[in-house]
Structures are given as C-alpha cells and as structure tokens.
Amino acid sequence: MFLPIDASLRTAFDIERDGDRSFLSIPIAHCSESNRIVSVASSIFPSFDSSIPSGFFHEMFFEIEIFSLDGGFEPFTTQDRDVAINYIPQIVRPSVIGIVCDSYRRLVLDVRPTTIYRVVKSGSSIEKATRKHVLLTAIIESEGYAAAEAGFDKLGRWFWLMERPRINPG
C-alpha cells in the first residue's frame, strides 16, 4: 500500500543531471511492503529543431516515477494518468501539480533557457490540460518569460513556446 511521504520533505531535494537533462524528482509516496518510492519527476533538456523559430530551445515535461529500491519490481516512469493514479495516494493527488510548478520554477531559475517548449500529452482533455498548463505557464511567466507561440502540433497536441525577452545593451 502506497502511503504519502511528509510534504515537508519536498523542498529537501536537489536538481540532478542525466546527460544534458536536468531534473527534479520529488518523492510523494512510499510502499514499505514492496519497497517502492513514487516520485514526481520534472525535467528540462536542450534540443534543436529547425521548425522552432529560434532553432535551439529547451523542452520541459513531467512524469511519475515508480522506483523499486530492492530491485523487486521493474522501475518505470509514466505520463499516463490512468497508470499513475494506481500509485499515488488520494490525499497526495491534488498536490502533484503544485510540486510540478515548484520544480519547473527551480529548473527554469537553474538553467535559464532562452526558449521553452511544452506540449500536452495527447488524450488529455483541453479542459484538464488548461487547468494544469495555465498554472505552469503562469509560473514560467513569473520568471520573466512570455508566450511566443501556442497552438497544436502535427499530432494535434497543444503546445506552448515561451521566450525570455532579450535585453538590448545600451
């Protein structure tokens, strides 16, 4: 049975690096019987694509990580709400988006990317996506970024491109 981890621990974790990806993984639940930890992992990584106006950009995304400490279960990540919900205690679920917001803020302040790209997973309803991503957009805006482009990608997924205004010297 997955039980919530004390919320006071959430600020105690540092940004980690995996190659050029920076991420924050915040544990939210623990199962003592199966020795598994459930974490909210938020990531930012650099990429290049000629279809993005500036070419070079950073992409941000979040996922739920289920990790077995003793190797008894295969560790995995998921962005699928229907999968994740089985591992997240009900009492913790409302706080997940707040954890992602805090993590995004810390990652943006750490990496200071010029351009940030985010996309909503297909299958998410616009209404649900709006609630979450309006919050995330506001967090990034509060760090000095402005929406440069938004719309639907080739797969019909809602995306945002946000840029940090360039400061002209003199």
């Binding site: 400490l69 998921t78 995306f159």
Partner: protein, 79 residues
C-alpha cells in the same frame, strides 16, 4: 558563344526554393509517451544514490514524528 560558366544552368533552368519559415507546430516532441516506460540501466544506477538519500530523509522524518508523539505522551494530562 561559350562564356566559361557552362556549369551554371541558364536562368530559365534555375529552381528558386523559398526559405521555409520556422513553424513550431511542425515540431513533434519525443519527450511525450504513452503507458509505462521502463528505466534504462544507466537511469536506474543514477537514481539509486539519490533515492537512498530520499529514504534516509524519510526515515529521519519518521523517527522525528515518533519523537513528537513521544513528547505528546509526556505532556501533562489535565484531570
């Protein structure tokens, strides 16, 4: 009459390709996926150290909570 630039096609043969304007809607993220994604061995190895830290912090928190409940047990009880 030869001009010495015979490798160049005449202007009538030139194909003018307009530069494509960048359009973010054409980009398809590879960071988004469905279902479960297994973690690679490298990912697992890198996560073990930090999760051990997490577990130790959780253990400390649990013992602190026990300590707090111990304190409460020592609080004077009004009769």
């Amino acid at each position: 009459m030869e001009t010495g630039c015979s490798n160049y096609p005449s202007s009538g043969d030139r194909k003018v390709t307009a530069l494509k304007k960048p359009d973010a809607s054409q980009y398809v993220s590879r960071a988004i996926y469905s279902g479960k994604r297994p973690m690679s061995a490298a990912q697992v190895a890198s996560r073990i150290a930090s999760l051990k830290t997490a577990v130790s912090k959780i253990a400390i928190q649990a013992s602190t909570n026990e300590g707090l409940s111990g304190k409460k047990a020592l609080e004077p009880v009004s009769h």
